[in-house]
Point group: C2
Chain length 647, copies 2
């Protein structure tokens, strides 16, 4: 293998010219390893970006309408008339949030998720809160989207409904594998179906509207039964707000692009911003269209058949080709919506890990340049939710969106605070603050207004959520989030403490090693033991060999042989009346360690049998291995394995 | 803790005066550890010896008759008349084997199982064959006895029959726990039920005979259905021999005492011999009695109800108290029969392990002075058989007894050969051969005759087995046995090879350590790394620090810090374009190891993070641990772990 070496003083750099990764099952499954140098090329254009980052937002049109109707149903079908006005309010909220995020994207071209914006402008605690909120919601996005996708499948093929948890878990595994291969390939795979969904939805909605105008749109034939409530409750403001809360699930995913700006081709901010606005427009149109049409066709919210399915078969008048195409497109986009989280969750957790709030391992890029550990963690957590909530969207929805709206609020509040500070600077002045640079800008006032108004709106919505969905499951999230923030802090404390203890700032000259004491446990006297003794003697003159005796005759043999071969080194024979091996040795070592003087180092030299084949290990008591496991985590004791037969 | 120290030259003996074992679940389950010094007290008298070692032999009366009838049933009920003559032949064989073994017990007071006798008189290969045969049969004894015990239970309570595999496995676990506590306690627990069984069987058989003589013994009321064979086959010599083969299962367990002589109180041989003869007499009487009575009552062999159950309820005229007592006694003795194997299997496997034919670990005595690993191995294998053969005695029986008769043959052939050699010596002459001493004895001719005749008889019986039971399952044993012998040889080869390579016989003066080269992998430059560097510098001046670089910026930082703190030691930075850590390091180390000169030692010093709490490990990549796992089994490379923050 060609090797490139470069030497400066005592430092040598070695670079490898070529590398052929081994062929393995892993390579077959997720592709050959990619060198770090390939990383910058893995960026995407607007069209692919829309496909990847918009699927979450767009796909929520598949369940948002239905979840509004589910809540309204408690007051009887008469309440369904409120669905469209509610959806108009939600789309207004969407417009506010979109404008607000568009500003963020331009301010943070390096990726401006709620976590970064909150960290730079509000401080550590709000940042951790935003991080916890987003991570929670990414997991829920996977669970909700996949569950809704499975609901589309079981609407089309009711006989599959008993397997829905199984199908959902299988889909999560499938998405996981695709993501472990890396983002570009994922994008290429996913662009076709996203555009297919957009086409089919446009067709369904516009065809429905045309039929409605021409008077040929009937009601749903053979609709699912409305799950009966004992007595219809009255239509109250609380009910309307509750329905509104559930419907805001449509807004989840809008923030995806702001987290993933770095994935876009240059000019990043511009590309990302345009993609965001397009996404919001498509989302608004579909959501309004579907909710509007649900009224005249008398769609019924049901776990048996989704509203989308009822709409499509009514518009297309049959369960024929166009119906099947619409259902397929909806299913696929929902499954791919989960993919948005698979792009963002690992990226955010790597960010948190780099800042020392999550285990460092999450920042590591795997062989395909993706944060593979984050991907796997997300998959496991989402599968857990799917299993616990039986892949039911209606059961999952109360947990959903709280995190997203909390992060919306923090992000926009952070932006508002930023504009406020920018406005107080003199023209041309620059201030460095928390790692980001503030620079005076003209026209900061409308920006402050936009972000501030956005923050207030989303905060109000979040309060509405908390109240209306509390008993239905929102409390779980409200317990989980502080727990997560607590965990982040604990991890951060650990890393900071360790960094302090390892820091070289206060490091003086190291204390002289005054005494180097060696303990050499031996099971018998043979070439292996003597190799170790030989090695020990090359390190120090202060050596104690130790034999644990379970059998007086064996001890006598060891003693006699040691007198011949032990080179005068002191041998301690420890009596072990209960035939224990490791325990007496540990006790002896601890006794010596306690009496240690300053500048004294203790090294345990363990003769280690090296088998020719791994299964030969079955024929040997793994005493050396057990001993080293027991000693490994004892501070201040050095452990050395000398293999038998060192030549 | 009081400690007793004694010093002679450079040797120090340390003895502990007291020890209080920790209280734990394990202690609660199997009792507190026993010191080695307690070992000799764990011996037993004749009465307890009969209870422990006879249960296997006696309990076979519970199924031997039935298994004869099962085979004869193929020719219709008319063939049942042959059962009693067959049982007489089997009892005659029992008498021959017993006399033969009685001689062995006196010649081998230290334990004269087939393995030892064959080893001393026939050589290594026959000894290994005997060992394999016996181990196989001990496992089958457990499976057959426990299965038959469960069959007694389900005869009494038919509603339990669907749980029979579960009950059988539960019973094996129960016996295992009792045996892990140690042999004396097992004996005390088991003597009561053995004598209870003897009493109940005596009562059943004698009561049955009295009723028969007085003409009041009727047929079985409401007998189980005879499983129909299409057409009855004719009564052939083959059928009779097949029935005889199955019936010889009654003889299994006769060798148990000869393996366990050392468990008896002094005078060992006498006590063991008397116990053996008593056992044979009781066994013969019961077997003849049961088989004889099965005729007049028209007992039917069946998986639904055992012959013992049919006999007991016919003799006692009801399913009342005496019936239940008989069934309970039979069940308990069968379960305890398995205990015989639990006494002998671990003892034999420890013997084989000491001779280097099985892994050494099997020779280790656990905290309760029993060979606990052998006990656990037996339990696992027996459970496997029970599960595979659905706890059915009739399915297990074709595999059974072949091993026993093979070991009978080898043992008696060995004894015969011994007498032959003894006879050729001059009076008073002594010859040492294969570790045992041959001494001229008067009256060697009848002894040679007894053992020789025994060997021929059992060999003929074994041939009959092999032919009649081959297709029913005996082939499994005939495949397994050579495989086991092959395994023994392979293990033996390994130990001998290793002993040769470790032997000090040809060991000259060790070669001088000419160069001590140290490689120090570092992830960064901090106090932990510097501790390791400090330690390394105390060992050698030839040190190379190695940093694997996944990130050029990080490499630059490490390089700069090293120039300040590295004390002039050479640092190699390995470029890792695929973000691998362990692999580039391993490759580098191997490259250096290949270029090693004679007398050069390579030591890898790994800085090891020592967490304060185990879960802190979750926050660190376990690179040091992975590296040491990869290096552990590389010959000729010494690995040293230096914990962070050595003071």
């Amino acid at each position: 293998m060609a090797m490139n070496e470069e030497e400066t003083g005592s430092i040598v750099f070695r670079r490898k010219a070529e590398y052929s990764p081994p062929r393995s099952f892993r390579t077959w499954l997720i592709g050959r390893p990619l060198p770090t140098a390939d990383a910058p090329h893995q960026t995407i254009g607007k069209a692919v970006g829309l496909a990847i980052f918009a699927s979450d937002a767009l796909s929520s049109t598949a369940y948002a309408t239905q979840e509004i109707l589910v809540i309204l149903a408690a007051a009887g079908t008469i309440a369904f008339g409120y669905a469209f006005p509610i959806s108009i309010a939600i789309v207004a909220l969407l417009a506010i949030v979109t404008l607000s995020y568009e500003q963020t994207i331009h301010t943070y071209p390096g990726g401006g998720g709620a976590y970064i914006v909150a960290r730079d402008n509000l401080g550590e605690f709000p940042a951790q809160t935003a991080g916890a909120a987003l991570l929670t919601d990414y997991i829920l996005t996977v669970a909700v989207s996949v569950s809704s996708g499975v609901a589309q499948i079981t609407s089309t093929f009711p006989e599959l409904s008993e397997y829905r948890v199984l199908i959902a878990v299988g889909l999560v595994i499938f998405i996981t594998l695709i993501n472990l291969r890396g983002v570009r390939e994922a994008g290429a795979i996913f662009s076709v179906p996203t555009y297919f969904f957009i086409a089919m939805m446009l067709l369904t909605v516009s065809f429905g509207l045309v039929k409605l105008l021409t008077g040929s749109l009937g009601a749903v034939v053979d609709p699912p039964l409305l799950e009966a409530t004992e007595t219809a409750i009255p239509i109250t403001a609380f009910l309307i707000l509750h329905a509104f809360s559930s419907g805001t699930a449509a807004l989840t995913g809008v923030e995806a692009i702001s987290n993933g700006i770095t994935a876009f081709k240059e000019p990043r901010s511009r590309n990302a911003g345009i993609t965001l606005i397009w996404m919001a427009i498509i989302l608004g149109v579909f959501f309004l269209g579907i909710t509007f049409l649900a009224g005249p066709i008398h769609a019924i919210p049901s776990e048996q058949e989704t509203v989308i399915s009822q709409l499509a078969r009514t518009v297309f008048n049959s369960r024929g080709g166009l119906y099947l195409a619409t259902m397929a497109a909806t299913t696929v986009i929902l499954v791919m919506a989960a993919n948005t989280s698979f792009a963002d969750f690992p990226r955010l957790s790597a960010l948190l890990a780099n800042d020392g709030f999550l285990p460092r391992q999450l920042a590591f890029r795997g062989s395909r340049l993706v944060h593979s550990r984050g991907i796997v963690a997300l998959a496991l957590l989402a599968c857990l939710l799917i299993v616990v909530f039986h892949a039911s969207v209606t059961q999952l929805i109360p947990l959903y969106a709280i995190g997203v709206f909390l992060s919306f609020t923090l992000s926009q509040a952070g932006m508002a605070r930023r504009w406020w500070k920018v406005g107080r600077l003199n023209p041309g002045q620059e201030v460095k603050e928390r790692g980001s640079t503030l620079r005076f800008e003209n026209g900061w006032q409308p920006k402050l207004l936009t972000n501030g108004f956005g923050a207030i709106c989303t905060m109000v919505v979040m309060a509405v959520f908390t109240i209306t969905k509390f008993i239905h499951g929102a409390w779980i999230v409200l317990v989980l989030m502080p727990a997560l923030v607590g965990l982040f802090s604990a991890i951060h404390r650990h890393y900071r403490l360790l960094a302090g203890r390892l820091s070289l700032d206060q490091y003086g000259t190291p204390s002289r090693i005054a005494r180097h004491r060696i303990i050499l446990p031996i099971s018998g006297v043979h070439r292996g033991t003597l190799s170790a003794l030989h090695y020990a003697r090359s390190l120090s003159n202060d050596i104690t060999a130790v034999h644990v005796s379970m059998d007086p005759e064996e001890a006598e043999r060891v003693r006699n042989k040691w007198e011949t071969w032990g080179e005068g080194v002191r041998l301690v024979i420890l009596d072990s009346p209960y035939r224990l091996l490791v325990e007496p040795l540990l006790e002896y070592i601890e006794e010596i360690a306690e009496k240690r003087q300053p500048g004294e180092i203790i090294t345990i030299i363990v003769p280690q049998f090296v088998p020719q084949r791994w299964y030969n290990n079955l024929l040997h008591t793994q005493a050396a291995f057990l001993l080293r496991l027991a000693l490994m985590f004892k501070p201040g004791i050095v452990i050395t394995d000398v293999p038998y037969l060192v030549e």
